[in-house]
């Protein structure tokens, strides 16, 4: 492997320069901005790295999947799931340099999308090139699925995967991005939570009226407050009947992995200006809540007059946006129907529910899968330390299509670190992590060729 490492050490600047090309192109799916250009540029880059690209239409979506494949020595196949879209860059005034003008400073590259997840696309391509240049071929075959709707909830990917099972056949999957934790320890994450995102809305009179009418005119803001308060109590228990029924208890290995994780509590508290966490949790309870438990969050709510000063008004409309984060084996459609039943049985028939999308299922790859031990071993070789094994991310993604529809063990590794600020101003990666990340992929390809055995599922 030393020659491969040397190649990466000698040529990362070219890869960073290609990464800048990716970052210079805005690709904001939420605003349909630069998406066609970005799909073409991504395909172009794959081609430059000897990966045959195709733009595959996605049913129901305007943004194609950029698919790529390259054969290797062994028929073992690793699939990379990535996305070419990014979050909107706002608020612009909080960026030190412009979000779509990638800037290198203090060993870091700043740009919207560099951490989530264009940096990983570039690092993975660098690892491939190293093998091709040094050895003339890859140890195993590789496929890329790079979608354009991850940042808007991947609403059409499940269907795409269903329809392309044969094309996407592989042995394992590396997920979009990941990286170092607050202790500069590499992480290998093995799942995502599911999500159900809904808007609740209720109406009162046909127009806003004077607030003195509150004696007799129903106020939708009160209705919404009462309904929301009925969903979750002050001890964070979700009060929807049957909400927890499908929660599969964590395996002993998952519990053990969460126990083994180092604490990042002080770092998180400091970075967010918090004195304590929800329910005052610390240690194992803190990590377990975050990684293994479902949650119900208010993303936003609004009613009536919210400007400066006072206005004596009784609003005619109130709405809230909620997201449920789900764990195996909860399902968004089941939770949606339980939410409707809850509202009806608590006297809130007037409150409508609009799901933003169909939601996403939770997904986890078992810690004892062979693939996980290969990814972890590759991390030990590159980073010189034990990686943190994390049973699940707190966030969501379309992973279920890969783990369950395609049956692939899936792991998240990547070139970010805990301070990378994905989705936020001054998003960045550290160049050192980029180089290590490329090497991690390289060792993984090599080890998959030598160590892979089909999963014992």
């Amino acid at each position: 492997m030393q020659e491969i490492f040397d190649y990466i050490d000698d040529h990362w600047e070219k890869a960073i320069s290609d990464l800048k090309r990716l970052c210079r192109q805005p690709s904001i799916s939420a605003q349909s901005k630069g998406m066609a250009e970005m799909a073409r540029l991504t395909a172009q880059l794959l081609k430059e790295y000897t990966v045959s690209p195709k733009l595959l239409p996605v049913p129901g979506s305007s943004f194609p999947v950029v698919y790529g494949e390259i054969k290797g020595q062994s028929p073992v196949t690793l699939l990379f799931y990535n996305h070419y879209d990014v979050q909107p860059p706002e608020p612009l005034e909080l960026w030190t340099t412009k979000p779509f003008e990638p800037a290198l400073r203090e060993g870091k590259l700043f740009a919207r999308g560099v951490a989530d997840n264009k940096g990983d696309i570039a690092a993975r391509l660098l690892a491939l090139r190293a093998f091709l240049k040094v050895r003339g071929r890859l140890p195993i075959s590789v496929k890329f699925v790079i979608e354009g709707e991850e940042e808007i909830g991947s609403p059409h990917l499940a269907k795409f995967v269903e329809q392309n099972k044969r094309l996407l056949k592989a042995n394992a999957c590396i997920w979009e991005c990941g990286g170092m934790n607050w202790k500069n320890q590499p992480t290998v994450s093995l799942g995502v939570k599911g999500i159900l995102y809904v808007q609740l809305e209720t109406r009162g009179a046909s127009v806003d009226v004077h607030s003195s009418m509150g004696t007799i005119v129903p106020n939708p803001a009160w209705r919404l407050v009462w309904a929301l308060a009925s969903l979750k109590d002050m001890d964070e228990n979700i009060r929807i009947a049957g909400f927890y029924d499908q929660v599969r208890p964590p395996t002993s290995q998952e519990t053990k992995a969460v126990k083994a994780m180092q604490s990042d509590e002080e770092e998180i508290k400091e970075s967010l200006g918090l004195k304590k966490f929800v329910k005052g949790v610390t240690g194992f309870d803190y990590r377990s809540r975050h990684i293994l438990e479902p949650v119900l969050n208010i993303c936003g709510m609004e009613s009536g007059y919210t400007g400066p000063g006072s206005k004596t008004v009784l609003p005619c409309l109130a709405h809230a946006k909620l997201d449920f984060r789900l764990v195996p084996d909860q399902r968004p459609d089941d939770i949606l129907s339980k939410l409707r039943k809850h509202l009806d049985s608590h006297g809130f028939e007037d409150i409508t529910i609009s799901p933003a999308t169909e939601g996403e299922n939770p997904s986890r790859t078992p810690i004892d899968s062979r693939f996980v031990s290969i990814v972890a071993q590759a991390a030990r070789e590159v980073y010189g330390m034990e990686p943190a094994i994390i049973p699940s991310m707190a966030g969501s993604g379309p992973m279920y299509s890969f783990t369950d529809t395609l049956g692939l063990p899936t792991a998240l590794i990547g070139v970010s670190y805990a301070g990378s600020r994905p989705h936020a101003p001054d998003e960045h990666i550290r160049i050192a992590d980029f180089i290590l990340g490329a090497k991690h992929i390289a060792v993984l390809l090599e080890r998959m060729a030598s160590d892979w055995r089909p999963a014992r599922k």
Copy 2:
């Protein structure tokens, strides 16, 4: 009185033309727009109607009180409380004609402020002129207090009244505006509710974070929802300890008056597109709730992302605006301290309370006061029917300074009707009501000279 009525019938067009002058001048206290011009114009108009005007500074305010007085035959003195400020005219697109370009159509005059309450200033001046032209003098003395901050809660008027007790000495007070109910029956209202307007606010992390952090990062939107739900239950009971302690039970006369009122339920329901009222109340319960009971209203609330589509965010800030409408003998400062105690004792020490102003006390003039019978008798003579006696408005105002600081029995009568749309687009009055309103004032002046005896307090 016939000569006086004839004068009003023959000269109302000149008064309407003066009213248009008042309405053409914007005077938006909330935006400090046109206020100095309006104060000068109001004083100018008083002068044209032979009332000596003065602009009196109001401690703490940039907007003076326009004070005026004119002596009459009898030393009995009636004080008119009015205001020269108006509500902002927005939303402009819902006005048929421009808010500050008064327009006559179908026997109605449309303009911002014409109903609330410039029309009443003009009608009262017309009544005075009728006496002066027909008889050369007024039957009684009259004083005007026309303030510039009514639409922003009269924050400085109480102090002004305290400091000008001698100047404002009078025997009774006619309040800013009033008029016909949905049945075209004149109303005589005898009180206002008190008000306490507060903003509640709570903060979580120092910045908005990804919603998947909801497992561990406190969400101020949830805190606010739980706090609000603790303040009022779904049966509309306000759960703040001691909230109802100071509520004085209505007198038998007040209850009788509310019972005697005609129903406007169908008109209100139709105008607001409602199927039923809060708690399903009808008849006496409906009117009693509206007129005699305190209420807690959410005027607005906001947290996190409230735009189109979905954003998975955990907000760092949540706030709500509330108004309490109070009845005798509740006091805003007492309710404010009970609210703070409630939040503290329910675990909401994190929620701050910012009162918009010091609030206003409730006020009621007893139905059996001599002044009320004089006002009612004058109404019978002018309108040819029994007026509706309403123990209190549902809204608020600085009446306490007049009823309690100055000790004046106070009644609301005026030139509006139930469809006048005060504070809303297409605010208007009917010309016929304007003429009747001027006559009502004229008869009242005459009867005060003959029938007034000091209150038997």
